[in-house]
Amino acid sequence: MGLPAITEQTQPHDRSQMAGRSSLSATLKQALLNPTAGGLLRVMAAQFTLRPSLRKYLKGVDGWINFAVGLKTHSGTVTQSIAFRDGRISVKGTIPDDADIVLHFKDDDAFVDMFTLPPNEALNLVLKNRVSLDGNPNYLQLFNFLISLMMKDKHAKVLAEEQRKDLAARREEWGEGDDTLSEELQSRPQYRMSCTSRDAGVVGLEDPFLPEYCLTDFPRLELFLEDHLTRKPEICAERAKLLTHWFREHGFETDKNEGELAPEVRQGRAFKHMMSHKAPVIRKNDLLAGTTTRNEIAGATVYPDANGGSIWGELFSIDKRKLIPFDISKETIETLHTDVLPFWAKRNFVEWVRDENGSPDCQTINERWVAYFVWKTVGISHTVPDFGRVLDLGTAGIIAEIEARLNEPGLDEAGRGALLGMTLCLEGIQAYASNLAIEAGRLADREIDPARKAELESLSRTCQRVPHAPPTTLDEAFNALWIVWLGLHNENADTGLSLGRLDQLLQPFFARDLARLTTTEERQAYVKHAIELAGCFFMRCTDHFPMTPDIANFLFGGSASNQALTLGGVTPEGEDGVNDMTYIFLKVTEMLCIRDVNVNARFNLQKNSTAYLDRLCEVNFITAGTPSMHNDDAIFKSLAPHGYPIEDIRDWSATGCVEQTLSGKHMGHTGSILMNLVAGMEMALHNGYHPLMDWHLGPETGDIEKMSSFEEFFEAYITQQTFLIDKAVEYNNMLADVHARYRPTPVLSALLGGCIRNARDATSGGATHNTSGVSNIGLADITDSMLIIKKLVFDEGKVPFKELKEALDSDFGDAQGLQALVQNKIDLFGSGDEAGIEMANRIAERFHQIYNSRRNYRGGKYTAGFWSMSQHVAYGFLSGALPSGRKAGKAFTPGLSPQPFASKNFLDNICDVAKLNPEFMDNNIAFNVKLIPDAQDTREETVNTMKSYAKTYFEQGGMQIQFNVVTSETLKDAMVHPENYRNLLVRISGYNAYFVTLNREIQIELIERTEFGL
C-alpha cells in the first residue's frame, strides 16, 4: 500500500502486539480515530500546499492532477476524504460522490494497522480483505506516491531495517547453514554424461549431449550471466513515453484529426512511431542486436495502457524493496509521474470495464483476490506467435501478403483497418532494425578490437537484411527472431507470450550452415558458435523483466515473463522431431541455469529416443529445476476432442507455464483465469457466504447440517464454484471486449495464423483457433476434502458435518484428533486408492464440461487446466481450513500434486496422477515432484531413476511432470545463505524462479513439499 509507517516498532509476525505497543495506536483506537485521521490528511494537505518541492507533483504535463480519495470504516468510526482539485486540496468529514477511490476498512484495527504497518505488510490488509477498495486503484497508487514524497526517507529506513531483521530471523529459524550443501549443487555441472546413441534428426553433433562444453568455454555468456545475477534491472519509461506522446497528440479513443480510424490503425501508427524512435541499443559483446528497453543489460518495460499504474505508489521504494528490486532513475520517476501515468489513469482495461459496466460484481470479486484472478487486466498475449513465417517470408513477405489480402474484394472497413494496423506494426519493426544496423555500423567504426569489430560489421549487415528479408543463416535467424520478439514485447505486457518450437524452426539454418563447412575444425567451431548464439538469445530473453509491483511478488512470486520454449516431440507429419538444435538448446539450458526462458520438453513415447529422455533428466538434475516434461500422447488426447487438424495438434507447444497451444495459429489465452477451487468449497460450507470476503455472494445451496447425502453437498459445491466460474468468465469476456475495442494487438495479429486471412485482429477472433484457458487451483485439496466428507460424514457417519465444520471454523483448534484422523487414516488422492482417482477425475470432468460449454468473447471454448503458477500459495494464504486437514493459511498442493502425507511411496503418486484423464485437462496440468539425489549414486544411476519415473509415468498416461532435484536441507541453507544460491532454480507450478527471490510463503511451501529419495 505504501501508506506511511508512522511507527518504527515492527515485529513482522506479531501484529496485535505491535499495534498495542505503539502509543499512536493507543490514541487512535479511542474515540479520536476520526479526528486524528482528518488531522493527518490535513497535515498532508498543508505540506502539499505550502512546500513548492511537493506542490509541483500535483501538476502533470496535462495540467493539475485532479482526484479524490475516501477513507471509511464499516462501523462509521472514520469517514474522511481528501480531494485534489486544480491545485487546491480539501479535507472533509464526508466522502464526495465523485471520489475516485474509497478505502473501506473492515474495522478500526484495520484502519490503525494501515497507518502503522510498513508498506509491504499493509499490502496484506488488502489481500486479506481487511481493507477493500471501491474505485480506481491507480488513484490509490497516486495517493501513495504523494505520501511517499513526504515519507520516502522514513520508508527507506523501515525497509532497510526490515531486511536486517529478516536475515536475523532467518538465521534463528533455519540455523547457520551448511556450505557443503551449496557445494554439492555447484558441483553438478562438473560431470557430464556422454550420449550412447544419436537420434535420426541429429545431423551435425558428434555427441548430442555436448559434454565437452561448459560455461567457462564461453566467456561472453559467463559475463552476461554474472550481470544477470548481480545487477538490478532498470525500469524503463521509453515505450511509455513515446506512446503517451503519440496518443496525446493524435488521440487515443478516437483520432483527433481523422476521427474514424480503426483502433488497429491507431495502435499501428503509435507502435510504428514508438519503434522508429526507440533507441537502438546493442549490448557490449552481444551477438544479437537490440534490447527491449534502453538498458543494455536488463530492463522492465512499463505498460501504462495495461497495469503500469500499479507501480505508481512504489516509484521511490522499488529500488529498495526486498524482493526483485528494480533500479529507477530520477528522470524516469518524473516522466512516469508527470508525463505518463496521469494520462493513462483512466485509460486501461480495468477502468474501461468499470466505467462501462458500473463496477460489476464480477470485477469486484476479482479485486478481492481470493476467488479468481483474470489476466486480461494485465494483458492478452498468452500465446505462441508464428515465427515460421518470419523465417520463411521475412516481414516484407508478410506485408506483401497483407497487401494482397487488402486487394481482395469484399473487405469491409473493419477488415481494412485490422490489416493496415498489421502493416504499420511490421514497418515499425523494420524501422527499428534499420536503426540497429546504423548503430552496429557506428559501433564497428569505433571498435578497436578486430574480432568485435568484425562481429559488429556482421551485425550491421544482418540488421539491414532481417527481419525484413527471410534470414539465410543461423545468425540472421536468431537476430530476426529476437528483433520481432522484442517488438512483440513492446506491444503487450508480460503474460506468458511464448516462443514455441524453436528447435524445429532453426534446425534447417543450422544444417545448412554446417553443410557449407568442410573441415572438422570448422564444423567444431561452428557448433560452438551455435551454442553461443543460442546462449545470447536466452540471455536477451531472460533480461527482459516483467514490471512487477510488490503485490506481484506475493501473488506471482519470482515469476519472470515466462517465455516458454518447447523442444522435441514430433514434426507435424508425426516423425521424430529431436534434432541438433534440440540438444543445443538443452546445452544452453544446462549451462546458464536461468529462470526464463522457461524450457518445456515434449516426449513422444513412440518416436523420441530414450537417449533424449536421459538428456532431459540430466539437464533437470544439473539445473535442479528445468526442463518440465510433457507426454505427447496425453496432450494429443486432450486436444483431439476439439477437432483440430492432426498436423496442428502434433505441432503443439507450451505457453507461459505449461499450457498446450497450437503453435502459431491459436489464440488460446491459456492463462486467462486463475481460479481458486477452494473458494467454492468455503462458500458451499457457508451456504453461499465467503468468510474472508465477508460477503454472501453465492447462491444459497443449503445448510450443510441438513444435508442428507454426499451428492447433495457435492452439487452444492459445484453450484458455488460454477457461480464463481461464470463470474470470472463474465469479467474475462468484458475485458476481452475492451481489449478488442480500445487496445487491439496488430503486432501479434500480423504474426498469428488466421488473422490476415480473416482480416481481423487477434483480440477480435482473427486467429485460426480461438479458446481461453483457465488454471484451476487446488484440485488435490478439493478431491481429498470430498473423499473425507463422503467417508466420514456420509458413508460411515463417524463425524457429524456440524462437528467437521466447527473444526474447520476453529482451524482444528480443538479437533487435532480429527485433523490427525483425516491425514493418517483415510486413503487420499495419491495413495494408490481407486476412490481418490475417481473423485479427482469426477471433479475435473465436471469443471471441464462447465468450461467447455462457456464461450469466450472470440466465440471459442474455455478450456480447463490444473496447474497453479504460484497461486496455490497465495490462495492458500487467503483460504480457511479444509476438510482435508489443511490448516487455514497454508499453501494448497502445487498444481494437482497429491498431499505430502497421501503416500510414502512416490510410485503411488505417479500412478494416481497418471490415471487422470487428459481429456478433462485441455489446458494441461502441473505435477510437481521433489527428488533428493543420493550422493552415493553415479550420475548414470541418478539419471536412470529419473528417466524411469518420467517414462513410466508417461506410459501410464501421465501428462506432465516436473522435478525439483534439491533437498529441503539445501533450501533451508539457501534461506540463510542466499549469496551461495543466486541461481538456484526451483519450479513453482509451471514456471521457474530463483529460490532466493521468492516470498517467504512460497519458500516454505517448497521446503515442506514431500521429498522422495533418488
Binding site: 484428533g817 490427525a820 487414516k825 511411496n905 543420493d934 524411469s948 519415473y949 513410466t952 501410464q956 529419495g1013
Partner: protein, 305 residues
C-alpha cells in the same frame, strides 16, 4: 501350504536394495538377533504393538479401547507391555497412527498383486523385487512360491539373507527363482558372532562357500555385504577376517554398508529403548573411518560396489 506370511511391510520405490527401482518385501521374524539390528521390529516372529510418541496428538481414545488397561498417560512408556496381550484393539481408534500394529499376516495373492502394480517401474529402470526382513528364508515356503510367481511374471528377483538357513531347502525352494543374492557376512569370529548376533556363524560361512561355488559354475550371483557397525563389525580385525575369507573363496566384489544410526528411534517405539549405548552408535560414521574400512577390503583386492 503357506499361502500367507507374517510381513512387516512392502516398501515401494526402493532404490538402495538392488539394481533399479524395486519393491522390498520385509518379512517379520529373524533367526539372528544382532544387537545393532536396524529393523528391530523384524526380529520377533509375532506381531507387535508400536507407539510413536511424536505422532501422538493426545486424542486418548486408545486408553478407553484397551480391555487390559495397559495404556496410561502416566506411564513414561505409555504401554505397559506386561499387561498388553497384543489384541491391537487400540490401533483402530488412534486417529494419528501413533499406535500401529507391526506385522500382518498377508496372503500371497495380496502380496503378488501389490508388487505387480509397480512392474512398469521395474521394467523401465532395470529393477524388480527384493525379499528382505527379518529373514525371508525363515518363511521359506512362502518366499519360494512368491519368487516363483514373480519370476514367471518376468520380474527380476533378489533375496537379502543373513545366511543362516538350511542349504538344501534354500536350493530347492528359492534358488531356482532368484536372479541375485545379497548375503550378509557380519562378523568373522565365531564366538564374537554368537555373542553379538545370537548364533554361531559356521553354517553361514558354509552356505556362502557353497553358493559361491555354484555361482562360479554359472549359478546365481552372490554379493557379500558387511554392515559397518562402529565398535562391532567395523573393527579392522573383523574386516580383515571377512576380506581374507572372501578372497579364499575366490570372491572379487563385495559391499560395505555405511552405518546408519536411525534405528535407535525404532527400538524406542517398540518399548526397548537402548540405554547407555556408546556415543558412536548415535552418530553417522565419520567419512575418514568409512574410507579406512573400505581400504581394508581394497587392500585384499576386493572391488567395492
Amino acid at each position: 501350504m503357506s499361502a500367507s506370511a507374517l510381513l512387516l511391510e512392502i516398501k515401494g520405490n526402493a532404490l538402495d536394495d538392488g539394481p533399479g527401482i524395486r519393491s522390498v518385501v520385509f518379512f517379520k521374524g529373524c533367526v539372528l538377533s544382532c544387537v545393532w539390528c536396524h529393523n528391530p521390529e523384524s526380529i520377533s516372529r509375532q506381531a507387535e504393538i508400536s507407539f510413536d510418541r511424536l505422532q501422538c496428538v493426545g486424542a486418548l481414545e486408545c486408553i478407553q479401547s484397551c480391555p487390559e488397561g495397559a495404556l496410561s498417560r502416566d506411564d513414561p512408556q505409555f504401554i505397559d507391555r506386561d499387561k498388553c496381550t497384543l489384541c491391537f484393539e487400540c490401533v483402530e481408534p488412534c486417529p494419528s497412527a501413533a499406535l500401529t500394529r507391526v506385522g500382518e499376516e498377508v496372503s500371497i495373492d495380496a502380496v503378488f498383486e501389490k508388487l505387480m502394480k509397480y512392474k512398469p517401474f521395474y521394467d523401465s529402470s532395470g529393477g524388480g523385487v527384493t525379499l528382505s526382513g527379518g529373514e525371508p528364508t525363515a518363511q521359506m515356503e512362502f518366499a519360494s512360491r512368491l519368487l516363483e510367481r514373480l519370476q514367471a511374471a518376468g520380474v527380476h528377483t533378489l533375496v537379502q539373507t543373513c545366511g543362516l538357513f538350511p542349504y538344501d531347502g534354500f536350493m530347492e525352494g528359492l534358488y531356482p527363482h532368484l536372479d541375485l543374492i545379497y548375503f550378509d557376512l557380519k562378523i568373522f569370529d565365531r564366538e564374537d558372532h554368537r555373542r553379538r548376533c545370537g548364533a554361531a556363524n559356521d553354517m553361514i560361512l558354509e552356505n556362502f562357500s557353497r553358493l559361491q561355488q555354484e555361482y562360479e559354475k554359472g549359478g546365481v550371483e552372490v554379493l557379500a555385504r558387511t554392515p559397518l557397525i562402529p565398535g562391532m563389525t567395523s573393527e579392522a580385525t573383523n574386516l580383515e577376517g571377512i576380506a581374507g575369507f572372501l578372497r579364499e573363496q575366490g570372491v572379487s566384489r563385495a559391499q560395505l554398508m555405511e552405518y546408519n544410526p536411525i534405528w535407535h528411534d525404532k527400538c524406542e517405539r517398540l518399548g526397548n529403548p537402548i540405554a547407555g549405548q556408546e556415543d558412536p552408535l548415535r552418530q553417522w560414521m565419520p567419512r575418514e573411518e568409512f574410507e579406512q574400512c573400505r581400504a581394508i577390503f581394497s587392500d585384499h583386492g576386493l572391488e567395492l560396489v
